[in-house]
């Protein structure tokens, strides 16, 4: 790591001021220190934001739950109320990395983490994400890459919390230019869809403060398929959330992760499922719709049937007793 200055802040105003143009916010630090150690980013000042007041709490409102951006993934995993109210969120958190990482990793950091593409992570590779002019993955080793993209970079979003938050219709509250801005999960990642340089829609000085989750959907589920049983990135992840009324789905949402630069949601699948009785046939048709426009590359075509199975399983899991 190159040397840097360091400051601990107690207010968002100081955080914004000290991070200035060339600093970086430090929370859990897992992703940040990794990037610094590989010289993938440089920061002249690390601004430790963990002492910002009020951001490490999970608050239960009647209609909306608020999760502070400094809440750790372990806090979510171990919160009995979350497990009851948003089982899918519990499952997604429990699948994040290892306990050592979950103990320090924060919600904000999980959402804002950078691409895991191995060409991006290789310090000697000047790929599109690093202002180069070539995506090495497109004609190279692309078995972990996207089936969908809106630009020429094919590195997928890997935040499992983003996948479940998308299905739960969560909103991120981001401090931007001194003002609190509300962003849907789609908005939070939109720039990564359009711009190969972007990992998400956040600028260097934007700070995620909270995530709000509406309690509208009483059922949720998350599943991921990985090479290893534990402590591994998802090859594909799937999150679904819904309410079931009179045996029928109400406002269902299905989201895939790790197959697109953004949490992948297909409106046609959500509206197809709405009002349907959940069974093998409907789940299969929804999976067909979600994967209809997939564009597999040389080594990642396996993700299509994998995602298909995962969608069906996750949907059928919603039927289980709450």
């Amino acid at each position: 790591m190159k040397s840097f200055q360091y400051a601990t802040v107690h207010s968002t105003a100081s955080a914004r001021e000290l991070v200035a143009d060339k600093g970086a916010y430090l929370a859990g630090g897992n992703d940040l220190l990794g990037l610094l150690k590989e010289y993938l980013i440089s920061a002249d000042t690390l601004v430790n934001i963990k002492s910002l007041p009020g951001l490490n709490k999970i608050e239960h409102g009647r209609n909306v739950w608020t999760i502070g951006s400094l809440v750790t993934v372990a806090q979510i995993e171990n919160d009995a109320d979350i497990k009851k109210t948003f089982p899918g969120l519990h499952e997604a958190a429990a699948d994040v990395a290892s306990q050592q990482i979950r103990n320090v990793a924060t919600v904000g950091g999980n959402l804002a983490q950078h691409s895991r593409c191995w060409y991006f992570r290789h310090r000697d590779t000047q790929c599109l994400k690093k202002n180069g002019d070539l995506c090495y993955a497109r004609n190279g080793e692309n078995r972990y890459h996207s089936l969908f993209t809106g630009n020429s970079c094919i590195s997928p979003v890997v935040s499992s919390l983003a996948t479940i938050f998308t299905s739960l219709d969560a909103t991120a509250i981001v401090l931007r230019d001194g003002k609190e801005t509300r962003m849907s999960m789609a908005e939070l990642y939109q720039r990564a869809w359009e711009n190969p340089l972007a990992h998400n829609s956040l600028s260097n000085t934007d700070l995620i403060l909270r995530v709000e989750i509406p309690t509208t959907r009483s059922r949720s589920a998350y599943l991921q398929a990985s090479d290893k049983h534990a402590f591994d990135w998802a090859l594909v992840s799937c999150a679904a959330a819904t309410t079931i009324e009179g045996g029928k789905l109400k406002s269902p949402r299905v989201t895939l992760g790790s197959i697109s630069p953004v949490p992948h949601q297909v409106e046609a699948a959500n509206s197809f499922l709405d009002g349907k009785v959940l069974d093998d046939a409907t789940a299969t048709h929804a999976a067909d719709l979600i994967l209809k426009d997939a564009k597999p590359l040389e080594h990642n075509a396996y993700k299509v049937p994998l995602a298909h199975a995962l969608i069906r399983r996750t949907l059928l899991k919603l039927k289980g007793e709450v």
Partner: protein
């Protein structure tokens, strides 16, 4: 080399002009509106917000109950501080990328990767390394169980596993094999002793399980 770089950025060091004025402003505003007692607290807050480094700064770590006064650059990781600045080489460096678990230490009762935490951030917290477990030449149950079950080959990953299992048993004194696997998912043993590590963890918890592999008792 004739290339000279201007090395002092505007905010360099603890006594930059901006921070000086900032402290003045905040203190004045606080004094005008708040109780005199809280001014000291506010002042402390503002002072703690100052930029320090990149050169070495005083860092106090509480490791295994002992206070260590160190002089470290902010970029020094906790692992580096333990191994290279404090001669505590129990926590091992494997990957240095939050992947292998050899550097696992406890912050309070919580296992973390020391390689991915800055030492300067770990102040004010109790740090326990594998050196802090044995007391008066007596091993802990977990350490003894690792010996009894021969749960190691080269031993490089062992301190990390011992810390993960120790943390697990503090949280859950009666784990099953799945709990142990979940707790140790962030530790890797390239020699492949995982089955015996699971047995050791269960033995330390007072649960003996029928083993598929024969374990030779050395003790």
């Amino acid at each position: 080399m004739s290339r000279m770089k201007k090395t002092e950025p505007e905010n360099f060091g603890a006594f930059s002009r901006r921070n000086f004025f900032k402290s003045l402003g905040t203190v004045a505003a606080t004094a005008a509106t708040a109780q005199v007692q809280s001014v000291a607290a506010e002042l402390e807050k503002v002072n703690s917000e100052k930029i320090i480094g990149p050169n070495a700064v005083p860092v106090t770590l509480t490791v295994n109950g002992e206070k260590l006064q160190l002089l470290l650059e902010p970029r020094v990781t906790l692992l580096d501080a333990l191994r290279n600045y404090s001669s505590l080489t129990g926590a091992k460096e494997g990957c240095d990328r939050a992947t292998c678990g050899a550097c696992t230490v406890l912050l309070g009762d919580t296992p973390i990767y020391a390689c991915s935490k800055l030492a300067i951030e770990a102040q004010d917290q109790e740090i326990t390394t594998v050196e802090g477990l044995a007391k008066n030449d007596k091993l802990t149950k977990v350490q003894q169980a690792f010996l009894d079950k021969d749960a190691l080959q080269c031993g490089y990953c062992t301190p990390g596993f011992v810390m993960s299992v120790t943390a697990l048993l503090k949280k859950n004194p009666h784990p099953n094999a799945d709990d142990v696997k979940h707790a140790c998912a962030g530790n890797t043993c390239r020699c492949g002793t995982h089955p015996r590590i699971i047995q050791a963890a269960l033995k330390a918890a007072g649960v003996e399980v029928a083993s598929k592999t024969e374990v030779i008792d050395y003790v």
